[in-house]
Each structure stands twice: as C-alpha cells, then as structure tokens.
C-alpha cells in the first residue's frame, strides 16, 4: 500500500483503501435447495488531494496500481474543493469483530442449519413456500494515507434469514426475518418461533376502516420513522443548508423520552469498525438526548465546513451513522398492546423509505399489519397505508417505547407506539 502512495507526485496527498472479502452462502427458495454461492471480492480505492481538490478512483482489478493512480490524477483538477487533508494516526477503538468460530463452520453445517430452518416452517404449514439461507463471510480492510495513518482490521460475518410466502387465491402473505453479526449467533429457535408466530397471527384477514389510530411500530420499521432526524443531523445536509435542524443544537424538539445514540464501537456488531472510511476513530455519539438536539453526524469535509471535528462517521458518500440506537422505555410491548382499545401493530411496510426526509412526512404501504381490539390481536389488515410526520408525532404523539429492543446489524430499536397515525384504505 505504502509503495503506491509513494508513487504519487510530491504535491499530491493520497489515501488508499483496500478491501478483500470472501463469502460462502447456502440458500433455499420455494422450500427447496436453491444454490451455493462462493464469492470473492477485491477492491482498491485511491483518493487524492491536489491544489485543494479531491478525486477518487477505484478498481477491482488486482495489481492495477498504475491505472488507479492515472485515473485519480487525470480527474483531480475537476474535483471538489476541500480545505482538509487526510488525518494522521490517532488512537482507535478496540472493537472485537472476529469470531474464530465463524471461520470453522463448514458447508455441510451451513446446509444442515438451513434445512432445519426450512423444516420448522414447512412442518408448521406445508403450504408456505419457505426461503432461508446462511452466509459466512470474512473481510480484511487496510487503510493508509500520506499523513502517516495506517490501519487494518479483520472482520467475520455470520448472517441467516428465514421467511416465506403463503398464497391463498389472490392473497399473498409474505414475511421474513434476518439475523446478522460478526459472531456466531445461533439462536435459530427464536427465529423459527418468531416467523411461525407471525404467520399464525396473520392468517386471518379482518376488515378495517380508514381513520386515525394508535399504532405500534415493530423495531425493524422504526428506522423509517427516525430517518427525518438522522437526515436532518447529517453534516452534509446542514452544510448545504437543506436541513430543517440547522442551528438547532441545544433545542428541545422531541418528546423527552427520545434519546438517540450512534455507536460504531459495539462488539461483534455488523456495522462496527475501529475507524471510519477516512481513518477517524469511531466512537459513541449522543445525537439526541431527552428530546434535545446534541450532536451532528460529521465526516472530515462537513466537520471542517461547520468548524467542528469529524465524529468518525465518514464514508465515501458523506457522513452516515454506524449503528443508531433509540433508547428503550420501561413498559413491555405486550403491556402497551393490552392497553389499546383499537389500534394496529405494523411489522412490515413498503415505500416508507421514499419521499423527502426533510419534510418529516413518512408514508408507507402496510404489507404486514395486525389489528388490535380490546388489547388482543384479532387478524391481519390489507390494502392500507400509514402516514405520520415524524417531527410532529415524536414530539406530540408518542405513547410508549417498549423495554424490549431488537438489533438488526445497523440499528437497535424498541417498539414505538404513536397515537394519531393516519391510516388510509378503501
């Protein structure tokens, strides 16, 4: 790596990122063995700064140093203006990211695990066309720059999923759950139980009328609701003057039960890294504390533009959170559900990622939502949409945060119950 950086002209600063990874995966689809995939991937990315401008070149071709350097130097005069350089070495987070047990799992074991997952759902209801899979990964990352930074880390990955589709006439019920991490997570029983329970509760379709209702959003849906906050705290959005939260640090904008943290240092978490893509050590940042805006999400460029230090959130496309955490509440989701006279619990949506996050408006089609009446789940609703404004609902309409949380690799969220959610349907 250092040799390549040494080939750069004296007036050019450089940063080289090299990633080598391999993955072995087994997948089942339609309740049948589908395939085995073995992928190996190599990429080298060179960023250069010359005369205050930055450009980037990458290649997945091994031993392609010459074209990497030529391509970067050929376009750097058009590059974006930057006032910062690449950071020198700094103490970095010591994050455990390798589980040797992952490396030892052989293909036969992966097939056995997948077959067991599939069999559990098929035995529950053979009409369900089951999909399941297991992936084992290894990655080696090296980062060096001409300011003297050199860092590397290894990471293992272990991911499995289970779901399926139950088609009855024109009704298509489709659901799945994923478990992901760096360590050998093996609570397959919990995954099987969760998926089967979800199918069981969703089998009965019940009529439903449009209106405003209290809604419990499952942890895997909460990220869509929080996106307006994370987008508004993004240093690049603030720098570009499109964030509605520009200059709002220190102001209480949300319910005091809302505390959001970003943490890139969680042990064996799929999104953890010891340093970000720019070589800045990762850390735990409190973004919102008891409803008060505390911290922007920054990389080198946006930090420099806003007169602050990077928060260790640099990527090649601007600052991004590593692992967002919404602090839990004190009541179980079951207790909250028991208190609802009439409401919904939403496990899956479509299109809630779309739209303009800075407006705060979040809408989505409810692809798996269950109706609650008198504290009990009575069946699945169909052909409905939900709409909220996150800025308003997390300020004025928060009913509860559950004490249970769920981690999905890039976030850890509780169940969130909001009142006054608009539900549209025929």
């Amino acid at each position: 790596m250092l040799q390549l950086l040494q080939r750069l002209p004296a007036d050019v600063q450089g940063e080289l990122f090299v990633s080598k990874s391999s993955a072995l995966s087994v997948s089942y689809a339609n309740s049948e063995f589908e395939d085995i995939k073995n992928t190996s991937s190599y990429s080298a990315t060179l960023r250069v700064i010359k005369d205050g401008r930055m450009a980037l070149a990458s290649s997945s071709k091994p031993q392609d140093d010459e074209s990497l350097v030529d391509n970067a130097l050929a376009i750097v005069r058009f590059g974006n203006e930057v006032n910062h350089g690449f950071p020198a070495a700094a103490p970095r987070s010591d994050v455990p990211l390798v589980d040797p047990r992952v490396r030892e799992v052989d293909l036969q074991t992966m097939v056995d695990i997948t077959e067991d997952l599939v069999a559990a759902v098929v035995n529950y209801d053979s009409r369900i066309k089951v999909m399941a899979g297991v992936t084992r990964e290894e990655q080696r990352v090296e980062l060096a720059n001409s300011s003297g930074f050199f860092g590397s880390y290894d990471k293992t990955g272990w991911h499995y999923y289970l779901g399926g589709q139950l088609v009855q006439g024109d009704d298509m019920l489709w659901l799945y759950e994923v478990v992901t991490g760096c360590d050998l997570r093996n609570n397959y029983g919990a995954l099987k139980a969760e998926v089967i329970d979800r199918f069981e509760r969703a089998k009965t379709i019940v009529p439903f009328k449009a209106g405003t209702y209290p809604v419990i959003f499952a942890p895997n849906q909460v990220g869509y609701l929080l996106e307006p906050f994370l987008a508004s705290l993004n240093g690049k959005a603030i720098m570009r003057d499109i964030s509605p939260w520009k200059g709002k640090r220190g102001q209480k904008l949300l319910d005091e039960r809302i505390t959001i943290v970003d943490d890139g240092t969680l042990p064996y978490c799929a999104s953890s890294v010891p340093f970000d893509r720019e070589g800045v050590p990762t850390r735990r940042n409190t973004l919102i504390e008891q409803g008060v805006v505390r911290q922007e999400i920054l990389d080198l460029e946006s930090g420099d533009a806003l007169g602050m230090d990077s928060t260790g959130n640099g990527t090649l496309t601007g600052p991004h959170p590593h692992h967002a955490i919404l602090n839990p509440g004190t009541e179980s989701v079951i207790a909250t559900l028991k208190h609802l006279e009439r409401g919904l619990i939403i496990y899956d949506t479509m299109g809630a990622w779309a739209g303009n996050p800075f407006s705060g408006n979040v809408s989505g089609t409810i692809s798996l939502g269950l109706l609650i009446e008198k504290g009990e789940v009575v069946g699945r609703i169909k052909d409905c949409m939900f709409s909220i404004n996150s800025f308003k609902h997390f300020r004025d309409h928060l009913i509860a945060l559950s004490c249970e949380t769920k981690e999905n690799g890039t976030s850890t969220y509780p169940y969130v119950t909001l009142d006054d959610v608009v539900i549209s349907t025929q």
Partner: protein
C-alpha cells in the same frame, strides 16, 4: 478471451450438466454536484468474472477478480453444483436456445468516450449553475451522472460465445428548495444505452423542475383518501414496473403452484384497453439488451394483451420448468451475481384517450406526476410521485406534495379505465432492486393512464 473461456469450460465436461462463464471489465465515470459546486468525481474499474454450474438440478456459483483464478473458480462452482445436486437429485432443466457466436456493440448516437471529461464537467456545471441561480429559495442542487461502458464476455458449455459492449448512462438533475422548516425536492431524469446526447438540451426541463420546487414550498400535503388518479407517463411507467412487472418475473412463480394458479395464462386482469409488454428491443432505453446474461437473444415479451395475461419473464430454467419459452430476461447487475429474472423496458401500449378525455369527468381526483420510486411485495405495491395536482370538477386545481399511492395489483389493474394516446419513455438514474442486486438498469415507456379508487396516503 474466447479461447481462454472455452479451454476452461472444457474442464467441466463430464463433471456437471451445464456450465457458463461471464467475465466483464467496466469503466465507470461518476460525477456528482450537491450544493454550489462539484461534490464528487470518480473513475472506477469493475473487473471480474464468475462461473455458474448446474448438476442434477443444483446450482453452484463462484465469482473471482483475477483471471488467473478462473480454473479454481470453475472447479469450485462445479463441486458446489454437484453438492447441491446431490441434495436435489433432479434432472437439470434448461430450456433449449440456439448456440450463438456473436459480437455486438451499440450503434452510438454519441459515444461518451468521444466526449472529454472537461466537456462533461462543463455541461453539468452549466446545469448546476442554472439550478443554483434559479431562485433565492433554491438551497441546493443534486446532480448525479453515471456512465458505465462494459466489455462483457459470455461462454457456455453448449458452445455459445458472445462478446457485448454495453453502455449505460443515468442522470438525475435536481433542485432542493427550502423555506423555514419546509424542504422540497424536484428532479429531471435522463438515461440511455446509446449516447451521451441524452443529457444535452435539458435546460427547459431543469427550469420547470426548479419552478415546481419553489411553488411546492407553498403547496399543502395531499389529503389521505381514495381518489380517481391520473398517472403521467413517468408514474404510469413506475406503476407497471412495480405493480405488475415484478409479479411477471417467473422465478417467483415457477415453483410456487398457488402463485402460478393466481398467474395462470389466460386469466383476465384488466380491461380490453390494457396491453403491457416488456422488451429489450427499445434501442435507446436503459433496459436495452441484445442478449441476456444467459446468452439468450432478447425480444418483446407480451405480458398482458387486451386485458388477458399472456406471458411472463423467464430464465432458461424457469421456462423449462413451466414448459414455456425463454424470453431473454435473465439478468445480473455485475459479475458478482448470478442472473435472475428481471425486467428490461416495461411498457404500456398506447390507447386512444387524450388527457382531456381522462380529466373531464373527474369530480375529485389526483394527477400524480413524476416518479421518485416504488416497491412491491407481489400482491401490494406502493409508488411515490414527485408532486401532484388535485383534480376538481374536471380541471387541474392546486399543486400538492408528498403524493404516495398504494394498491393491490389485481384490483388496480382492473381499475384502469383509460389509457392515453401519448406514450413517453422514462429513463433516469438509479434502477431496479431484487434479490440483493441493485441498481439494475431498467426503463419504461407509457402513456397517461387513469385508475379508479387509488389509495393515497397523506395528511388527515
């Protein structure tokens, strides 16, 4: 390369039922403006290949970056296929297709490699200046230009060898307006498989987008409800992609008898006015293909003809299992993935209605304009418009924002009661996602359509 791939394939003879190799080298240029100036420029090389092998109905797949690893990858893919096949113990089934030896390249209207980076940056800077300088309420621009030129080799154990040069250009030119706590965005999209000229002469469209962004600051959020909805060609294109195109991809159907029953050919899904096809033949669109990633020649595939379901999008395997013919629809985003059933350019055939015909008897409705994105789970779909207008008493009324539509594919197709006579292509940056493969270059050609009883989310 041909000899190298064929020599390697010789090592698979007798070991597996079928084997194929894809190898690509792509040159990518990406230029992005955000705010007042250029935000990022990069040149990338995507280089690598894969081997896919089939034995007793089981697939093995192995990707690699170094050609020196080709024989290792072939041995690994064959071993995995045999392992997978030993679990399935079925006959390997691939629909027969002609053995082809061919080299193809686009008929360029303007080869982007003939345009210097200086000139590309100059043109995009002009657009950026146009956006930033349009109005004081425009807070930022978003311009993305991605150009990918691919040299793709494909060879299989049946004797086919195809070398294809492919171009994919996608551009999105957008404006963000902000006033107080309100932020709105509008975009202009362009894309092509044959020339850089697709992004020339966009000034007027950019000005319109900027004007819309500024006006949208004062527009209310649409009221949630059920409306008669007219979709402009971009929204109709997104609708046909999300609502129906994905359901036509045979890899979700071929081993799911209940789903196959719901999608039985001959079933009536819409009125006589509705004809939908998917094609690789639309020459300038981002979905243009000569051969798919299994070496099958592309075609125009009718999916619905006069309201009747008549076809679906196949790989060789799904076609064989369902007893139908391959359609040249097996596609992969790059060498790291196996091909799966995907759309190309999905089209609604033009009807006879004018826009005036569609709107004149709508008491209260929504005109949904511009496509931001969508998603489907097979039966239900959702898609988001860049903006909309209320329709009141047969006339366009106030501008509204945050227009998101949803529906059930079966009822919505049946609820299309008018198809316009004004088809228009829609190609933009971005693409389609499925099975972890995103973004795949796809396109759409559609006229205006009118749909009854569409659910729209929004304010109460």
């Amino acid at each position: 390369m041909k000899q190298l791939l064929r020599k390697a394939l010789g090592l698979a003879v007798g070991k597996v039922d079928y084997c194929e190799i894809r190898f690509e080298e792509s040159q990518i240029l990406n230029i992005r403006f955000q705010g007042k100036g250029l935000d990022r420029i990069n040149k990338d090389v995507l280089y690598g290949g894969n081997v896919r092998a089939l034995s007793q109905g089981g697939w093995g797949f192995c990707s690699f970056n170094d050609l020196a690893d080709l024989e290792w990858a072939l041995a690994a893919a064959c071993e995995q296929a045999r392992f997978a096949g030993s679990r399935k113990q079925e006959a390997s089934r691939l629909a027969p297709v002609p053995v082809v030896e061919d080299e193809v390249r686009p008929v360029y209207t303007l080869d982007p490699r003939a345009v210097s980076v200086d000139e590309k940056v100059r043109i995009l800077t002009h657009y950026n200046d146009l956006i930033i300088g349009y109005h004081e309420a425009i807070a930022a621009s978003h311009i993305t230009y991605i150009e990918k030129v691919t040299d793709l080799h494909f060879a299989n154990s049946e004797g086919t060898y195809i070398r294809q040069e492919k171009l994919d250009i996608g551009a999105s030119l957008g404006a963000t307006a902000r006033r107080g706590g309100i932020t709105v965005q509008q975009f202009v999209g362009r894309g092509s498989s044959i020339g850089f000229d697709c992004i020339l002469g966009v000034d007027d469209d950019i000005r319109k987008a900027c004007q819309l962004a500024v006006e949208s600051l004062d527009a209310p959020q649409v009221q949630a409800g059920v409306y008669t909805t007219i979709c402009d060609p971009a929204m109709a294109g997104l609708f046909v992609h999300e609502a129906f195109g994905h359901l036509s991809e045979a890899d979700d159907i071929y081993k799911n008898p209940e789903l196959a029953k719901a999608m039985t050919l001959g079933r009536r899904l819409g009125g006589d006015i509705l004809t939908i096809y998917d094609t690789g033949e639309y020459a300038s669109g981002r979905g243009h293909l000569v051969y798919d990633d299994e070496g099958v020649a592309t075609e125009r595939t009718y999916l619905i003809k006069n309201g009747i379901l008549v076809g679906r999008l196949h790989s060789r395997e799904t076609a064989a299992v369902m007893g139908e013919k391959p359609t040249g629809s097996a596609r992969a985003i790059n060498y790291q993935f196996p091909p799966i059933c995907r759309m190309r350019s999905t089209c609604i055939a033009p009807g006879t209605s004018t826009f005036e015909d569609m709107i004149k008897d709508v008491k209260l409705g929504v005109y949904a304009v511009g496509a931001l994105g969508g998603e489907t789970n097979g039966e239900m779909f959702t898609f988001v418009a860049s903006h909309g207008y209320m329709i009141r008493d047969g006339k366009l009324a106030e501008l509204v924002r945050d227009v998101q539509l949803m529906g059930n594919v079966f009822t919505t197709l049946a609820n299309i009661d008018m198809v316009g006579n004004d088809p228009k292509p829609d190609d933009s940056a971005g693409g389609c996602g499925k099975g972890g493969q995103s973004p795949l270059a796809t396109g759409a050609v559609s006229p205006h359509i009118r749909i009854q009883n569409v659910i729209i989310g929004g304010a109460k």
